[in-house]
C-alpha cells in the first residue's frame, strides 16, 4: 500500500531543483517517496537545504551495492514531523571509492546511522566525528553488505562453517588465538 504522504516531497523537490540546477540529476517518484537524485558534491548542501526547510527527522542512512554497474547508492530518508512530509535523497558513487560528506553536523541521528552504513556497506563519510565500526568488532575485515563479501574462515579461533564448502580440505586452525 503506497504511503499517503508519498507525493508530499514534490514542492520542495521543485525548489531544490531551482536552487541547485543541474546538480539535481533527477526527481523520481517511488510508491513511498519522492526521490531526489543528486550529485555527490552537493550531498551535504542539499540536506542542509532540506533541513532548513523543516525536514527535522533523519530516519535512516543506507547504501545499496550494484556490483555489475560498479556503483553504490547512498540513500537517506527524511521526514518533516511538523508539516507531515517525506522525501528521500539518493546519490551514486563509485563502489571502490564510496565516500560522501557526513551529515552528522546537521542531525545527531546521522552519527550512528553513518557508522552502521560504514560498518556494513563500506561507505566513508567525510567529516564524521567518530567513524568506526558499530555492529561488528573493530578488528573485523570487510563489509558484509558488499555483494562480493566473503566471511572469514576463522575469527579468533571460531570456525565459520558457512563458508567451508570444501569440508575435507579445510585449513588448520591458526596456532595463536
Amino acid at each position: 500500500m503506497p504511503s499517503t504522504l508519498a507525493a508530499t516531497g514534490q514542492s520542495i523537490a521543485g525548489r531544490a531543483k531551482s536552487q541547485f540546477g543541474e546538480k539535481i540529476l533527477a526527481v523520481e517518484q517511488s510508491p513511498s517517496d519522492v526521490v531526489l537524485k543528486v550529485d555527490p558534491t552537493v550531498w551535504r548542501a542539499v540536506h542542509q537545504f532540506l533541513k532548513d526547510d523543516g525536514f527535522d527527522l533523519l530516519h535512516s542512512v543506507s547504501a545499496v551495492d550494484w556490483i555489475k554497474d560498479g556503483r553504490c547508492w547512498v540513500v537517506t530518508h527524511l521526514f518533516d514531523t511538523k508539516h507531515l512530509m517525506r522525501i528521500s535523497v539518493k546519490t551514486e558513487v563509485p563502489r571502490d571509492a564510496a565516500r560522501v560528506d557526513s551529515l552528522a553536523p546537521l542531525w545527531s541521528a546521522a552519527n550512528w546511522h553513518e557508522r552502521e552504513c560504514f560498518d556494513l556497506s563500506g561507505v566513508t563519510f567525510d567529516g564524521h566525528p567518530d567513524l568506526r565500526r558499530i555492529l561488528c568488532p573493530d578488528d573485523w575485515v570487510g563489509h558484509a553488505l558488499r555483494k562480493d563479501y566473503k566471511a572469514p574462515d576463522h575469527y579468533h579461533g571460531i570456525v565459520n562453517n558457512v563458508n567451508l564448502i570444501d569440508l575435507d580440505n579445510r585449513q588448520p586452525l591458526p596456532d595463536t588465538v
Partner: protein
C-alpha cells in the same frame, strides 16, 4: 543537623576521581546484551557510551540470499517481544514494491494481532520497568495478562513469540469462533487490569519519586537523534505513524495519541512520562481492538494467486509502521530477480538508545538503570 546538609559537608572534604565503569553486557537491567561504558565522578555520571553489536547476525545480508517470502521468520527475531509488528513492516514493504493489494479482512486481522502484540510488549515493559526501579510485584501482574495475550496469539498461529503469522499477501490463517470469544473476554477484562497496574505502580509514591524529573529528554534533542515511539511522545511530541501517515486500516479507526504531561508534578520528557505514555497506550490498544472486532468484514484472508514475488528491477519502497518501540521502517530495493537487492531495517531501538549519552549526563549512577528501562529497548532489533 539534617542528613542533606551533613552529606553536603562530607562531599566538600572528599576528593573524587573520574572513573570508567563497564555496565554489561551481562547485566540484568540492560534488557539484553547491551554494554554501557560509564564515566563517573563520585555518584554523578559524566558520560555513557552504549556499545552494541553483541547480537549482530546481519539479517540484512541473509535477506539478500533468500526469496522475499522466506525472510519473514527472520523479522520475528529482530524485535522478539513484538514480532507481529516486524512481520507487518516487512510484508508491507514487499507488498508496496511489488504492488500487491491485500484483502480487507486480512488488514483487520493484521491490526488485531499487532495491537495484541503491542499490549504484550508494553506489559513486558511495564513489568521489567518495575523490576528496574525496585518493585518485583508488578512484573508478576504484567505477566499474568501477557500470558492471556500470548495464549490468544498461540491459538492463532501456534507460536508464542516468533509468529510469522503475517505473510506477503495477507495472513497465515483465519480466526476461529473460539478465538473471537476469547478476544472479546480479554477486551472486557483488560481495562480493569490497567486500573490495577496504575494503582500498583504508576501512581505509587515510591515509584514516582524514583522516576519523576529523572532523565529528562527535551523534544528537540529527541527529534535530532531520531527518537520515535513512546519515548518521543513522552517528551510531548504528538507523533504517531498510525495517525500521521496511516497504513493498513488505521485511517478508519478512532484512537488518541497520548503524550507526556506535567500532571505528576514533574517536567515533560522524564522517565515517568515515557513510562506513563505506554500505560495510556494500553487503553488505546483496547479501543482499537474493540473497533476491529465490530468492523471486521468476512472474506478471504490471502491474495488469490499471489504467484512469484518478483518486483521490477530498481523498484524501491520505504515503508514505516508504528511498532511498540517506535517507527520501524523497511527499505526494500529490487534487482528484478526473486531475491531482493537490499533490505534495510530501520529499527526504532537503534535510534532510541543512541540518545542515552545526552540524557545520562549529570544524572546519578543509580538512575542510569531507570533511564535505560524507560527507553524500553530490545537488543535483538538494535543489533539485527
Amino acid at each position: 543537623m539534617n542528613i542533606a546538609s551533613s552529606a553536603a559537608r562530607i562531599e566538600q572534604d572528599v576528593k573524587t576521581d573520574e572513573l570508567v565503569i563497564n555496565m554489561g553486557p551481562q547485566h540484568p537491567s540492560t534488557h539484553g546484551v547491551l554494554r554501557v561504558i560509564l564515566k563517573v565522578d563520585g555518584e554523578i555520571c559524566l558520560d555513557a557510551q552504549p556499545d552494541i553489536g553483541y547480537l549482530h547476525r546481519c539479517a540484512e545480508k541473509i535477506a539478500e540470499n533468500l526469496i522475499y517470502g522466506m525472510f519473514v521468520p527472520y523479522t520475528d527475531r529482530m524485535d522478539y517481544v513484538s514480532g507481529m509488528g516486524c512481520n507487518l513492516g516487512y510484508c508491507m514493504a514487499v507488498e508496496t514494491v511489488a504492488g500487491i493489494q491485500i484483502p480487507p479482512r486480512a488488514e483487520y486481522l493484521r491490526v488485531i494481532v499487532t495491537e495484541l502484540n503491542r499490549i504484550a510488549s508494553h506489559l513486558l515493559a511495564f513489568g521489567t520497568y518495575g523490576l528496574d526501579t525496585g518493585a518485583i510485584t508488578p512484573f508478576l501482574y504484567g505477566f499474568r495478562e501477557r500470558e492471556l495475550v500470548l495464549d490468544l496469539l498461540e491459538m492463532l498461529c501456534g507460536a508464542r513469540l516468533t509468529y510469522s503469522y503475517i505473510r506477503i499477501g495477507g495472513v497465515d490463517g483465519d480466526v476461529t469462533p473460539d478465538f473471537m470469544s476469547k478476544l472479546k473476554e480479554f477486551i472486557d477484562l483488560f481495562p480493569k487490569k490497567i486500573r490495577e497496574y496504575n494503582k500498583l505502580l504508576t501512581f505509587n509514591h515510591i515509584f514516582m519519586k524514583r522516576t519523576t524529573g529523572v532523565g529528562v529528554l527535551p523534544p528537540d534533542v529527541a527529534i535530532a537523534y531520531g527518537v520515535t515511539g513512546p519515548s518521543l511522545r513522552g517528551s510531548g511530541v504528538k507523533r504517531d505513524v498510525r495517525r500521521d501517515d496511516p497504513y493498513s486500516i488505521y485511517d478508519k479507526l478512532e484512537f488518541d495519541v497520548p503524550v507526556g504531561t506535567t500532571q505528576h508534578g514533574g517536567p515533560i520528557g522524564d522517565c515517568w512520562n515515557r513510562y506513563h505514555v505506554r500505560m495510556r497506550e494500553l487503553e488505546e490498544c483496547v479501543k482499537i481492538l474493540q473497533q476491529c472486532v465490530q468492523m471486521m468484514p468476512p472474506g478471504p484472508i490471502m491474495v488469490e494467486k499471489l504467484g512469484r514475488v518478483k518486483p521490477a528491477a530498481k523498484a524501491e519502497a520505504y515503508t514505516r509502521m508504528e511498532n511498540a518501540r517506535g517507527e520501524l521502517a523497511f527499505y526494500v530495493v529490487s534487482d528484478g530477480t526473486m531475491t531482493p537487492a537490499r533490505v534495510k531495517v530501520r529499527a526504532p531501538s537503534f535510534s532510541n538508545i543512541s540518545v542515552l549519552p545526552e540524557i545520562v549526563r549529570g544524572q546519578m549512577i543509580a538512575d542510569v538503570v531507570a533511564i535505560i528501562g524507560s527507553l524500553d529497548i530490545v537488543l535483538g532489533e538494535i543489533d539485527r
